[in-house]
Symmetry: C2
Subunit: 546 residues, 2 copies
Amino acid sequence: MKNKSLKIIPIGGLGEVGRNMMIYEYDDDIIIVDCGLMFPNNDMLGVDYIIPDFQYLRNNREKIRGIIFTHGHEDHIGAVNYFLEEFNVPIYATPLTMGLIKVKLGKASLNKDVSLHTVQAGNQIRVGKFKIDFFHVCHSIPDSVGLGIETPEGLIVQSGDYKFDHTPVDNWPTDYAKLVEFSKRGVLALIADSTNSTRPGWTPSEQVVSEALDKVFAQAKERIIVASFASLVSRMQQVVNAAKKYNRKIAFVGTSMVENAKIAQKLGFLTIDEDQKISIEEALHLPDEKVAIMCTGAQGEPTSILGRLSRGTQRQFDIKEGDTVVLSSKVIPGNEEAVYSTINDLFRRGANVIYEQIAPVHVSGHGSQEDIKLLLHLTRPKYFIPAYGELRQMKQSAILAMQTGIPERHIAVVEDGQSITFKNNKMRMGDIKPISMVFVDGSGVGDIGPDEMRDRELLSKDGIILVHVILNKHDGSLVINPEVVSRGFTSTKEADGLFNRARNTIINTVKRNPTNLEKDITKTLSGFIYRETRRRPTIMVTVSNI
Amino acid sequence: MKNKSLKIIPIGGLGEVGRNMMIYEYDDDIIIVDCGLMFPNNDMLGVDYIIPDFQYLRNNREKIRGIIFTHGHEDHIGAVNYFLEEFNVPIYATPLTMGLIKVKLGKASLNKDVSLHTVQAGNQIRVGKFKIDFFHVCHSIPDSVGLGIETPEGLIVQSGDYKFDHTPVDNWPTDYAKLVEFSKRGVLALIADSTNSTRPGWTPSEQVVSEALDKVFAQAKERIIVASFASLVSRMQQVVNAAKKYNRKIAFVGTSMVENAKIAQKLGFLTIDEDQKISIEEALHLPDEKVAIMCTGAQGEPTSILGRLSRGTQRQFDIKEGDTVVLSSKVIPGNEEAVYSTINDLFRRGANVIYEQIAPVHVSGHGSQEDIKLLLHLTRPKYFIPAYGELRQMKQSAILAMQTGIPERHIAVVEDGQSITFKNNKMRMGDIKPISMVFVDGSGVGDIGPDEMRDRELLSKDGIILVHVILNKHDGSLVINPEVVSRGFTSTKEADGLFNRARNTIINTVKRNPTNLEKDITKTLSGFIYRETRRRPTIMVTVSNI
């Protein structure tokens, strides 16, 4: 008999925020949990998003038995179409999550049939050698689940994104009973969300947001515009409820917002009277005090509805003096500047802006320190693997686990690619799989790497100077004066005199007839420009011999 | 008699964070308060910093009677050398602030004598028609003051950066008595710090930080490395105190940190036993448990000491397993990503990292909502002008002022350039002075504007493609095949086939012999590239006719 063991391989989401993907492998069977995308850091210039590295799966293609999704947020389902372009395996998800996945598949227009299995929270499925319990958790999108994965080596619980909310918008609390049942069966390892591990206390209930929104709606005299994520379906319900109470119609604006509202409504996750929902055109013809608008752009994205409203470039309508604008979502780290500048611009245009710092119009969908400790006590795992977060957040999660009594040697703080094996009830570190950043830029996947990123960074800092030299191929003399032009380096006015002198530097270099003319011009010119301006623009030299 | 009035003109710091500068003008006299710099936003590509726009001062050069500084932080003194290159007027500041200004002047090697007047907190000076009281305030740098400016139209109080701290590091609380005295004299207007106007409650005392540092020092078994701002002189004192208590020597690392410690020590604002202070070389030869190191880089700046330590590129020493690293300063908005990535990298190298989210190792130097309300009640101004902050923060400051009983019409939320006039005890909006962003990049001041910024942004997104075409000047035919090269666009491997096809596009365009060949090639090529890659790189075409 082969020396079999359970191997867990985090592909994305451990040590980074987003592109969540986890592999469970036993013998000839692999199942995958989630396949999300990640939004680029500010230094990943020009990148649209980052998807998981499928290399390990390519090498083990024939073992994959299925892919399971925990909920419908982009960081968990966003790369599903890239995945299905390469792999054709059954998909398992709850109804809302599946609805959102279908939208993606529809857009990707895949040339194959995909086998889709809708599973209800509370159900159990069998995929390969794994028996999987879907259990309901509260999160900022309805129909979210965690997974109890029964493997030949024992039960692994993967939390998904969760919090404990005793008064959630849909009145459907996290499935405490199932967690306790797991604990009775004996949990070998818990893999859990660490996003808010540095936040003391409990994450507040969505109820707090309902109350804050109620206050906003009670006080606003004219239009109310609420910006949020298109995927925050429960927030949509809260805004709909407040609008209904205060006798306002509601218009959803923005493709993804409209689309998600439609799916959520169709599947019964968003309840709204047909006569309350109006189009933006209708909204603009109603009295201001009868209107609520819900749109995207709470991250300050320049091309979003709110971003364009803040600069007065939205095609259909403008911010008016007296509008109340609510930013009802967290600020994703790295977006602070964009969000605050959008808020300032909205104030400049006369709106009254309500945002998380001045009123509780948003609460997190992730559990804080006390939630994390409760999950640990409910499941009582032997081993603990912090997941979903930066390294600092997983480290803090580990500290919380130790506080609940899990010994340090039973906790694995690992990052993507570090496999973990379980055999005979023991956890060990496995081998490390290389994991790369797979950048998506336009229609290109993976053709942009660290080199191009570095080039873009240099270009963005001091611009570029281009030199073109045409030489007589017989005697190496200059045919015409060198061409020197620039972009993003300095204003044309300033450049004139400087470039005349630069041209002389180049002519002198050509006269010296060096072995590597491109390199020599680059070096000399670079030195000249730095001495004159203390800047280091990118310099590109092309030499034509004719 | 001329129709005289007091004119207050905010040049920087109202509606933006940093480059603080305020002008007070009455008749033929102008005084200036502060002259700071501002750090660039993430979208100001390649900019080192932004300084105030001196245009109004150039137009009124002969009126300027002096410049007064409230404290020694960069956002209040950082542009003083640029100012003195153009203007020669007396400088007034308290001893530590003056010490830090002198360092800047020394570096700038100005070719003129500057008249420096050191003023003690509590003193009164007369400059032109203005009588100015310097009153002590608590802030995160010692020797900070606010100003009571007696003008012919009444008393204006400008807070400077301040908080109310009953247990400050130097035991020198904010001068409550002076504030009450102002209130007795009657305050026409209060101009006050709004930085923390969205934070409920009081800003905690520095005492909290001392206690948190004490805990860190009590628990750490090996080296302790504390990163902070070079200008946080009181934080230096706290670290020195903790190190002394736990019998550790201290080494300051980083030019600005060493320089500021030296000045602060010389002027009596930093107390440290001579045998406690050691060089980094000495520190590296002591047992780890005897060493504390204080350095710069708490903002995640890649070239700072901590930034280099986090990547293992610091010349003198490395992070070791067991090191405790403390980030003892706030995260400047926009730097979150860089700071967290530095923290994660430090964890990866084996350090235990302590930062604001997990322990109170930093408190703000700016007053929160209750501090702001206390300042309003102590001074009881007729008019209120929120200052130092983004528009959203000044708006929130105005709400606090209304809560303390100041009517809305007595509050002026204005941004840079909007002058405010006072006459016969009445405040009115004056004219608006145009204010530009003056970017400093390398040795260039103001030669970079929105056009270059836009070019840099485009370059950073999708890179650049360069085309060079050499034509026969007699018949317009191609002399050699067009040259096509790129930077930051795609990997060379991917580009090969694409550029071959691009070359054909260019050859066909040349054959059509259009009137504007550069423009036509740019347009055709841009379309071709977008269709093929969904990217929009910058395209530059040069045509040589030989």
